[in-house]
Amino acid sequence: MSLALHPTSKAFKANARAALKNETLQRAMGHLGFAQKRLEAVGRLPEFEALRDQARDIKNHTLQHLDFYLEHYEEKLRQSGGEVHWCRTPEEARQAILSICRSVGARTITKGKTMVAEEIALNPFLEANGVAPVETDLGEYIIQLRDEPPSHIIAPAIHVTKEQVADTFLEKHAAYGKTKLLSEPREMLEEARGILREKFLGADVGLTGANFLIAETGSSIIVTNEGNGDLTQLLPRVHIVLATPEKMVPTLEDVSTILRLLARSATGQEFSVYTTVSTGPKRPQDIDGPEQYHVVILDNGRTAMLGTAFQDMLRCIRCSACLNHCPVYNAIGGHAYGWVYPGPMGSVLTPGLIGVDQAGALPNASTFCGKCESVCPMKIPLPGMMRHWREREYEQRLSPPAQRWGLAAWAFAAKRPRLYRLLTGLAARVLGLWGRRHGNMHNLPLAGGWTQFRDFPAPEGKTFHQLWSERGQR
């Protein structure tokens, strides 16, 4: 199932409601423990805050000169024997990848974790064209077997319980002669490791994403913990990197600064286990490594975000801190968001990539509590950009009519202090009397959203301004 092909962001509200009632999902989400680990890791690095400022500045500088850095990157990459494939749309990227696969007669392609491949629904496309994609990140592998989309950008199977993994393995691994129902994560990992080992060795092409592209050297960088991304790119004859332009960083020094933030923000590790810098295909004397190295650079609307209110989003390094700390994401999980990128970063990115008419609910599903911005290593003003989407939505008259009417009525009164005083005086009195006995109201007309789950505290009976003028004060 690909959310890129079948977005359900329009049904966000219903999705969220279902997610809250889904007990298995709720149990699974209870395991999300990155936030505490991040806190500890940040505490061990006193320079963390200063590094955030520098990382933001580095990315801003890069975006300001993105064309230059992309060209420099390409030149360097060519010198090392690699090739860049520029693609504007998902379709161009899919075709570019397929034609590389066809040129070497590839039947299977191993994949490291890449959200961009989700964005372009690469797997169903490859399958339909006779190339079998094999996800090798354990989480991605699990959800590929279950035919589900990822629900988190670095822990794609966070919505799955270990019992569900066991059932899935029992069903799908029978083909490999594995017929035991497993109970421990350790055994499940071992079984998957054994099966995937064969896939690594048999693949014709390996495809990875890129956490960063380095202009100085023409390199791509992947950051992983499992080592699957490395086996994916080392063993097959061809390595394809699927990247997007904003992954660019000028120098190795610059990326070092950002790397100090990435793992700590993501999983709370000091450094991820494997940070791998790849530059071109194997050298003539090398005894291992891929013979071909291709980098597919997909724009898909990103460069159009430059110079707009959403440019800052292009600083995102996909660390997932904003998801991990978001109370809304923690309550409903990733699938409810209905497209590839969930959580706060998704609420900003998704309307930009599939349209605010499709995904307008996402930037509305925030209390603006600001936690995401406070933990974002790249200091992306996520709530501010969600508000910008609300503005677009309002301007295009896409927000729900009831909301617009309510707002209009409120604004009409709020701009007329005397009328406003009259109305609030009346309301305070009526509601005050009504709620006097219990101190609150169980039901309130036009406030069903509130009183469905909460009582409405009764007013004291007179407004502050009434009382203040009664006391003769100014």
């Binding site: 000169h65 090798t136 913990n225 070092s256 600064t257 286990v273 791998t276 071109g280 460069t303």
Partner: protein, 230 residues
């Protein structure tokens, strides 16, 4: 493809409200690229001498790798066999054909079977030499080359890495400086390795040895006179 290229670059320039980056700015940007200017390096990445060695050793363990410290290359073979025995592993290793590893007197442990060259999927233990060790996070830096296949870092279940105290640096920036000094251009692969492979993808329970090595063992040759006595 060239059309897409042109269009993407044009789209960037339009969005930024300018044409091609002017010559003066280009020069500035090139100078920035070639200047290798460092950003803020945390205190932890600026350690030197004895502290660098101690920090490295401590952070290696923090990353869930193990470490054995020896005083000279002569002690490496015994350290390796001891480790294998301790872990109940066969005394058989696949070793990178790395000339630096030839300085180690392997003949002293005749029971240790050593195969050189490309790793085979059946190899249980791989042994390589690090290009550098980074004290800041206990990270090993390995580079690919004719004598140093990257595959060895990932295929065997157990990975033993030999590093000398003189190869240790404070932070990542020092590692890049060292690499630039040693090589005219980037090698195909630079692997930064911090601890053994792991996954938390099943209910966020940490499991070691997801696809890469389950065990990472560092043999640190603590013989650097500049670092002071161990």
């Amino acid at each position: 493809m060239t059309e897409a290229r042109a269009q993407i670059l044009t789209s960037i320039r339009l969005a930024l409200g300018r044409g091609v980056v002017d010559a003066a700015t280009q020069q500035e940007l090139r100078a920035r690229l070639n200047g290798h200017r460092r950003n803020l390096v945390p205190a932890r990445g600026q350690v030197t001498g004895r502290q660098k060695v101690e920090d490295f050793a401590r952070m290696v363990e923090f990353s869930l790798a193990s470490i054995a410290r020896v005083r000279s290359v002569d002690e490496v073979p015994a350290a390796v066999t001891d480790y294998l025995k301790q872990q109940n592993l066969p005394a058989e290793i696949r070793m990178a054909p790395d000339k630096r590893l030839d300085a180690i007197p392997w003949g002293r442990t005749p029971l240790l079977k050593i195969a050189r060259g490309m790793p085979d999927p059946k190899d249980e233990v791989g042994l390589s030499g690090a290009f550098a060790g980074i004290a800041e996070t206990g990270t090993l830096m390995l580079v690919s080359g004719p004598d140093t296949p990257s595959t060895l870092n990932f295929l065997p279940e157990t990975h033993v890495v030999v590093v000398r105290a003189s190869e240790l640096v404070g932070g990542y920036e020092d590692a890049w400086t060292k690499l630039r000094a040693a090589m005219p251009s980037m090698p195909r692969t630079v692997n930064f390795i911090t601890g053994p492979s792991r996954s938390g993808d099943i209910e966020q329970t940490l499991q070691l040895g997801a696809h890469g090595p389950r065990r990472l063992h560092v043999v640190l040759i603590d013989d650097d006179p500049q670092a002071g006595p161990a």
